[in-house]
Assembly symmetry: C2
């Protein structure tokens, strides 16, 4: 294997595939990047066992030659060292050559670095092919879906499936749901009619991966029983899905409500954030006291600590109601709705309540009240 490659394009490819390589692995092969010099270009693959990324640096970009001096073949080279070296080289081109199958010699300018390399056949067999039913989605929409739900998924949970975002495609809609049992966030977007699948994708991993798509118009998504696959530009990204039954949100989201508060989102959010200061060092329990005439956000702390703030403008329908909640859950929910006003619908004092835009049901936030101490 041999090639002389444009340094910037090489680095871009290494960083893309390197995104999948974890900081540590019990399997040293997963600390490497797989380099495959083919007639199409240089394929670079990285994986941590759960996420795998394969990207292609083409031989030419339009009229511009990117790779020359080509000898086909492959090698596995330690990801971190290769990336750091290429970053620090200040030449326009870099030459990489595999010697005796055990050494990757990288040269650029006066610098020659021999990094140990491993034979490509040691690399795990990673299937990265799009499904025939792949569908396209604007990158912006996918990022919104992830950002507006992922915060509600716990980092750790006794039910590992809850650490994922549940993606359900059916009847021309994709519904994303995340929940930690005490709150739930869901967002719905339109997709092509014929797509049907359910997948629980690790929330934290997915949040990181979708950032890679920024700058691209759209991404194609394929769903397999064991993984979900994203394709954009010259890059394929696959992510293992979580097994287990995901809770059915239609069973937890109430349908009929008895109390309704409509309020400017920013005003309520700011008031809640100010009142939360009183309990900044513990669970930020906040109380909302609502009548037709007056809506007050308040909190207590010990004997003397007390904070209260009335809202300026609101519209409340229903009898007097007091609700205690974790203010960070409600603040997260208001932010996720991304609407100028929010409508909060309550069933009863100790029943989960729903926060959404007054105009639009595409984002539904559910929060369970807390018992007062």
């Amino acid at each position: 294997m041999r090639l002389t490659i444009n340094k910037e394009e090489f680095l871009k490819g290494l960083l893309t595939a390197g995104h999948a390589v974890g900081p540590k692995s019990s399997n040293p092969v997963l600390m490497t990047l797989k380099l495959d010099m083919t007639s199409r270009g240089l394929e670079i693959t990285g994986s941590d066992g759960d996420v795998a990324i394969k990207t292609l640096v083409p031989v030419a970009l339009g009229e511009t030659e990117i790779i020359r001096n080509i000898g086909e073949g492959g090698a596995l080279v330690e990801a971190k060292k290769l990336i750091e070296l290429i970053k620090r080289l200040d030449t326009a081109e870099v030459t990489l050559e595999v010697i005796d199958g055990t050494t990757a010699r990288i040269s650029g300018g006066n610098n020659v670095t021999n990094l140990p390399s491993i034979e490509v056949d040691q690399y795990p067999d990673i299937e990265l092919e799009e499904a025939r039913e792949a569908f396209e989605m604007p990158v912006k929409t996918l990022i919104d879906v992830v950002d507006q739900t992922s915060f509600a998924a716990p980092i750790k949970n006794s039910r590992p499936v809850l650490t994922g975002i549940n993606l359900r495609a059916s009847g021309g809609m994709l519904t994303a749901t995340a929940t930690d049992s005490a709150r739930l966030s869901s967002k719905m977007v339109a997709i092509p009619e014929n797509v049907e699948f359910t997948a629980n994708v690790p929330a934290k991993t997915l949040s990181g991966l979708v950032r890679m798509f920024e700058g691209y118009e759209s991404v194609r998504i394929s769903c397999f029983p064991e993984k979900i696959l994203f394709a954009y530009g010259n890059t394929l990204v696959s992510c293992s899905v979580l097994s287990g039954d995901y809770p059915v949100s239609s069973r937890v989201i109430p349908n009929t409500f008895n109390y309704f508060l409509e309020v400017n989102a920013l005003e309520l959010l700011s008031a809640i954030e100010r009142i939360s200061v009183l309990n900044i060092d513990r669970t930020p329990l906040v109380k909302l006291t609502m009548t037709r005439e007056r809506v007050e956000v308040s909190a207590k702390n010990g004997q003397d600590g007390y904070a209260a703030e009335c809202l300026e403008t609101f519209q409340y329908t229903g009898e007097r109601l007091e609700i205690n909640f974790n203010s960070s859950y409600v603040a997260d929910a208001i932010k996720a709705v991304r609407s100028q006003d929010v409508l909060i619908s309550f069933v009863a004092e100790m029943k989960p309540f729903v926060i959404k835009s007054p105009k639009d049901d595409s984002v539904i936030e559910l929060v369970t009240p807390m018992r007062t101490r």
Copy 2:
């Protein structure tokens, strides 16, 4: 105690004094800020026991009234909550009132927050007065002195005095020195003739404190047996010094040398940083091999790992010499010298060597070579 105060100026004062309050303390009083409403203005004091900061928010700034509705008196209020609340209030003014000596009531807009307060006499007696021999120094110079030395002080050491920067004022010069025994960094600047003192100031703390002075022209420094005190604008900052004997640098810095390498700082630094990639996951041992004809930076890793790079332009005087060193120590030293070219002077293969500007002795960097494995 009572006052109505411009919110932005109040916040500025709280953040300044709050800089001294640590995240945790076994003494709850040190988690508070001391507020003293006097005829001059609002004095705000914070301390973690080692660092103390007192700042004054004046009653007026020029023609602009900053504080009104004044009732003299004092209170101790939990720093974090007070700061977070004032940050989140979106009103131009805030009113603070102490009720029954146990509650500080803060009101702004519709928000009223009662934070528990403690009587001022519970606060430790902190003496914050400048010494008669205080001398003035440009803030920029003080920041340079700290930044060009502090990196060489270890975070922890069995000899706690080494975690400090040794400041020695004598004969019109201030010499700052930091060392972890394997390397030493020192910088010398001119000060008024009559100032004489020695102080070991915790390096990490000092690095943080000097950032506060940014934006001010100069700072006045007073040295006491137990502390060093900085005065700028309306603020006094004191920092306890470390006790113990600091090593005398003149005993460790050699005077006569046998080999000299003069080289472009950036070229040497870049080469060292590239070569270091080979051992990025362990002590980055790098070798410099010098003859009159050729200067090479190289490293080894295991049987096959090898990296080498020759410098383009250099001037070397002396016999052939090989020196092995920790590349991050040499990289830090080259950066601290802040000169286009550096002169490295060697005594022998295993003796400490000196890195400095060829033109100027104000910054002296000493690095001890490493034994090869």
